[in-house]
């Protein structure tokens, strides 16, 4: 088995990063009956909040800031969780178990949880610093974008990952004329593959969005004042009018403050096991700052979604509190674009192929699809088909007959039952 957690009471639990993952650690420690001191340190001047709605329902005004909060303010005082907001960690001394803050203060810890998240990549494109060129990760970013949307008529989104696609949809829903630019072959191509990328492209094009793929941005061009963006120039030389721009071309884990500590990183992220252990005793990491090593298969994977932030936070907190681990759940995420909700669960790879229940060429019909590798379901997804999605999810890891999966007349539920044992 794994190494035991450090003894409780050997010093405060310090959570650096008041992210969803970090806040989940603090909340779960208390739910688990952990009685020791818990401090949550956050760089942003905001109570811990959830990000998914920032690029959708928060921008359209459907949900308020309060609805984004992990817990209301009173929760932290009621549960003796010390919040220090607007303060960043600048270095870690694991030998003396100290975290140094921007203000110079040093915080001692018995157990450290690193939850510093990730920051959006700022590509070195001329004009990236112009007013009107936005990023969207934090609540402050969303508020900036929200004030820029008022009065804007045209927008260009750069990058068609989840953030780019969702922002494209939201800005279109808000009435802006949007051009979406991506250097790769198509929207969500990396996470979902070519067939589903074509479906996502169709959603945008149906709503009047011009989708330019395989095109890099060469410059953001200023207006007459020279300070605000007016157009985006793409590799072919075309200039796309833009009252505002949103750049979403990936994120990098926030590990800069750890450069002096002998912490194992992989691809820039903190290398952890499924319980959040790092290579340093008493130091754990959770959320977007990590890359998770699957002890069983030896493979590594980055999980940067709402559900994984919660699952990782819970697992690490339970370990620290001395509770048995929860059964691992398959990875899960959703994406809302226009009137579509896509849900995905599992983890497919390049060797998995897609099997579809429904018709991908009919964008307004619900559809459920399965990724199969050697006949085994590695991932499932659905668009506006939540009931079938849940039934499909139960087939993860099983090897049902593919013709049963594709036939909408076949009830998926019995397929999840174990087959009767063969005689002999």
């Amino acid at each position: 088995m794994s190494a035991p957690a450090p003894p409780a009471g050997s010093g405060p639990v310090l959570v650096v990063g008041a992210s969803l993952a970090g806040a989940t650690v603090a909340v779960t420690l208390r739910e688990a009956g952990f009685a020791g001191e818990v401090m949550l340190l956050g760089a942003e001047n905001a109570l811990p909040y959830e990000r998914p709605a920032l690029r959708k329902q928060y921008l359209t005004g459907r949900v308020s800031v309060e609805a984004l909060l992990v817990q209301p303010a009173s929760y932290y005082s009621d549960n003796r969780i010390t919040l220090r907001l607007g303060e960043s960690a600048v270095s870690l001394d694991p030998g003396r178990r100290l975290v140094r803050l921007t203000c110079g203060e040093q915080l001692p810890y018995g157990t450290l949880i690193i939850a510093t998240g990730a920051s959006n990549v700022r590509p070195p494109i001329p004009g990236i610093d112009l007013q009107g060129v936005h990023q969207l990760r934090t609540l402050a970013d969303a508020d900036d974008l929200l004030s820029a949307v008022t009065g804007a008529r045209t927008a260009v989104t750069v990058g068609m990952g989840f953030i780019g696609c969702e922002v494209t949809a939201t800005l279109t829903d808000l009435g802006l004329v949007v051009t979406a630019v991506d250097g790769g072959p198509g929207p969500l191509w990396g996470p979902l593959g070519p067939e589903l990328s074509a479906v996502a492209r169709g959603w945008h094009e149906q709503h009047g969005v011009r989708v330019l793929t395989g095109q890099g941005v060469t410059a953001f061009l200023p207006d007459a004042t020279g300070s605000a963006v007016a157009a985006v120039e793409v590799a072919g030389g075309e200039r796309l009018p833009a009252d505002l721009v949103v750049v979403g071309v990936g994120a990098r884990p926030n590990t800069g403050w750890l450069s002096g500590a002998p912490l194992d990183l992989l691809a820039g992220a903190i290398d952890v096991d499924t319980d959040g252990r790092t290579n340093l005793p008493g130091v754990y990491a959770v959320g977007d700052v990590t890359i998770t090593r699957d002890q069983r298969t030896g493979t590594h994977r980055r999980h940067e979604h709402w559900a994984s932030a919660i699952a990782q936070g819970r697992r690490t907190a339970r370990l620290i509190a001395g509770l048995p681990p929860e059964r691992p759940e398959p990875a899960y995420f959703w994406s809302d674009q226009y009137d579509k909700t896509l849900q995905y669960s599992g983890a497919h790879d390049a060797d998995s192929h897609l099997v579809v229940r429904g018709d991908l060429s009919r964008p307004d019909e619900p559809v459920t699809a399965f990724f199969l590798r050697n006949g085994t379901v590695t991932a499932v997804l659905a668009v506006n088909d939540g009931k079938q999605f849940r039934r499909a999810q139960r087939l993860l890891g099983l090897s049902p007959n593919p013709t049963d999966l594709t036939d909408p007349a076949v009830d998926l539920r019995p397929l999840a039952q174990p087959a009767p044992a063969l005689p002999g």
Partner: protein, 103 residues
């Protein structure tokens, strides 16, 4: 508290969902372990309709973002919702659904 009657109720079978409008509210009804359970049809997360979701044992899963509620209490079990669902004591009486709604 007032008891509302839905005559000639087309009752769902075990593990299925059906919705009715009672006192101006969309209410979803399911049968779990032979008992009737009724709750608000509108998910407290982003207002999706739970009747399109899935029943798993004594929980209902929202079709949009997999928020999961206990149908017996309305409490959130997992997922993005933070607010419990309102539930209504329900039973089948002579082919009619009876629902108790607090005033």
């Amino acid at each position: 508290m007032r008891t509302h009657r839905v005559p000639d109720f087309d009752a769902p079978v075990e593990g299925e969902l059906t919705s009715v409008t009672v006192a101006g509210r969309a209410v979803t009804v399911t049968v779990a372990g032979g008992e009737f359970y009724a709750f608000d049809d509108t998910c407290t997360h982003l207002q999706c309709s739970l009747v399109d979701g899935e029943v798993e044992g004594r929980s209902v899963v929202c079709p949009c973002h997999s928020g999961t509620f206990d149908v017996t209490t309305g409490m959130v079990i997992s997922g993005p919702p933070k607010i419990a669902l309102r539930t209504y004591p329900a039973r089948l009486v002579g082919g009619a659904l009876e629902l108790d709604v607090a005033e």
